[in-house]
């Protein structure tokens, strides 16, 4: 578990000034993070704000339609009685029919709401509060907290008396929470779908949640027109606001008295809660979930066997000794001598034979003969070409003569 047991309270007017240096973190912030419980409780609790709706029970049934039965070459679906209009004889009543009633029409007495066990709801709320104190979770939820001086952010009670929105805005700017508000403003989009015609025109993100304590605080009015900001009393913390969408890690701004009240609300690990009757904070299954630390701890490393060295069998590329002389020599040192002996034997065998000298005279004679033959060939081809030319000339001149004669 993280050890962030102390927290500073900041002055409302100056974010660099600290009014209370180190106050202890309420035990809620140490409860285990249980996304499973939170998501279960959230999906059920989110159904509780639904309003009943239903289809008109008579819709599609206001006909005296009857099936024509068999033998008339039509489907057996009930058909509208009467005549004189297109509608007569058309299919009615079925969910598959045009203008028919839907299948399983929605009734008003559908079970719209869900009840969740109190203990589960409380564990979920505690977990959600704990998650608001963990920076990576707030980052993961998408809040812009790069300018915020501390998480969890606790501010003196002075903000509870803010009445003007300008005060609220300036306060948010001072504490780096305005970046989150700007995100909300810039990502406001027109909703896709028909809901935009039913009163839900915009989709707006969630910004910071301001939690106060004193009942007659005026800050609700100051903050309520700032887009994205929600204000809630500590005694009425809502999971739907602490973990919107079932996603843990809302960016929360606490007032000092609200922060101090959390111990009474949720109790500590020593004492059960005062205000939630009989509620005890959930205990973690593992006190130290940091696996890396456990593995590297002295207690574990003492008992652990030494690491096995991995022997790689074929670390080096295998060379073929039949083709690679060095590889062969490595395996068979005598191979060198064998090779030398083989070369010597070859040399010995070829000692008597003379080298064949090239016969220059023969070469000359053969070349002359070749030239002769090729010359004769050339002459022959030239003569043939010339003959062809003569015939051509003769032919065309005869033609010319003939033309002239005509």
């Amino acid at each position: 578990m993280t050890s962030v047991p102390l927290v500073s309270v900041f002055s409302a007017d100056d974010s660099t000034k600290v009014t209370a240096k180190h106050i202890p973190l309420p035990a809620v912030f140490q409860t285990p993070i249980r996304p499973d419980i939170v998501s279960f409780v959230h999906t059920n609790i989110a159904k509780n704000r639904r309003q009943a709706h239903a289809v008109n029970p008579q819709a599609g049934m206001q006909h005296s339609a009857e099936s024509w039965g068999t033998g008339r070459a039509v489907a057996r679906i009930p058909r509208v009685s009467g005549s004189g209009t297109h509608r007569s004889g058309q299919a009615a009543f079925g969910n598959q029919c045009r203008k028919g009633r839907m299948s399983l029409p929605i009734k008003v007495w559908r079970r719209w709401h869900r009840r969740v066990n109190i203990k589960q709801k409380r564990h979920a709320a505690a977990s959600a509060v704990a998650a608001t104190g963990i920076v990576p979770l707030v980052l993961a939820r998408g809040h812009r907290i790069s300018q915020v001086p501390q998480i969890p952010l606790v501010v003196e009670d002075k903000i509870e008396s803010y009445e003007k929105t300008t005060d609220a805005l300036n306060f948010l700017k001072r504490f780096g929470a305005f970046e989150d508000v700007q995100k909300v403003v810039s990502t406001k989009v027109v909703r896709a779908g028909i809901s935009k015609q039913r009163g839900k025109k915009y989709r707006v993100r969630k910004g910071p949640l301001v939690v106060y304590f004193n009942e007659n605080a005026k800050l609700l009015k100051a903050f309520r027109n700032v887009p994205g900001v929600e204000v809630v009393n500590v005694t009425r913390l809502n999971l739907l606001q602490l973990a919107p969408g079932g996603q843990l890690g809302r960016f929360v701004i606490w007032t000092q008295s609200a922060f101090a009240h959390l111990d009474k609300l949720f109790g500590t690990y020593r004492y059960a809660s005062v205000l939630k009757d009989g509620y005890q904070l959930l205990r973690p299954l593992l006190t130290n979930p940091d696996l890396a630390r456990i593995i590297n701890s002295n207690q574990v490393q003492e008992k652990v066997q030494p690491a096995k060295t991995t022997t790689v069998l074929h670390e080096v590329q295998k060379k073929n000794p039949l083709r690679n002389t060095k590889a062969m020599d490595r395996l068979n040192p005598y191979a060198r001598k064998q090779r030398a002996a083989a070369i010597a034997a070859i040399k010995a065998n070829t000692k008597g034979t003379k080298k064949i000298k090239k016969n220059k005279a023969l070469k000359k004679a053969s070349r002359a003969a070749f030239n002769k033959v090729s010359a004769a060939l050339n002459d022959a081809t030239n003569a043939a070409v010339q003959e062809e030319q003569d015939i051509k000339v003769k032919y065309f001149s005869v033609q010319k003569g003939a033309a002239q004669a005509e």
């Binding site: 962030v4 979770l137 980052l139 939820r141 300018q147 940091d290």
Partner: protein
């Protein structure tokens, strides 16, 4: 908070998660690989370094920032230090050259987490290369203007 526990909460859905074309990517500034995995997701640890490009002003030598994930005892931003501090990170600009920056990365990761170290260094080098192109164009443009 333990990295394991945070991962279990965050791996399914988080603000940096981008799923496209069958890939699971991350826009986490502390993630130098771009892919969302347990070891590369830096914002759930307390010792990651993110190599982040910034909008470079004219004549600024470098446009890279090192964002160091830090875990402070009280999760407070330290206002007194020069580097821009937040609750979860301190930002260092790379104005003394990438060699100094790479030393920061090497010192942070040491001999462990070589994969993360290499990813950070690789990103630093690539951003620096792109930056060199930018600077070259900038200088050429100013020269042309002067003429």
């Amino acid at each position: 908070m333990s990295q394991q526990v945070l991962w279990e909460v965050v791996k399914g859905n988080n603000a940096f998660l981008v799923k496209r074309n069958g890939l699971t990517l991350s826009t986490d500034p502390f993630n130098n690989t771009g892919v969302q995995t347990y070891s590369s997701t830096g914002f759930i640890t307390n010792n990651a370094i993110g190599v982040v490009p910034t909008q470079a002003k004219v004549n600024q030598i470098n446009n890279v920032n090192l964002v160091t994930r830090k875990s402070t005892k009280f999760q407070q931003a330290d206002r007194k230090t020069k580097n821009t501090q937040s609750v979860y990170a301190s930002t260092l600009s790379v104005k003394h050259g990438i060699h100094t920056a790479s030393r920061v990365i090497r010192k942070r990761f040491g001999t462990r987490r070589l994969g993360l170290q290499k990813a950070a260094l690789r990103k630093l080098v690539n951003l620096n290369r792109a930056n060199a192109v930018r600077r070259r164009n900038e200088i050429a443009a100013t020269k042309a203007q002067k003429k």
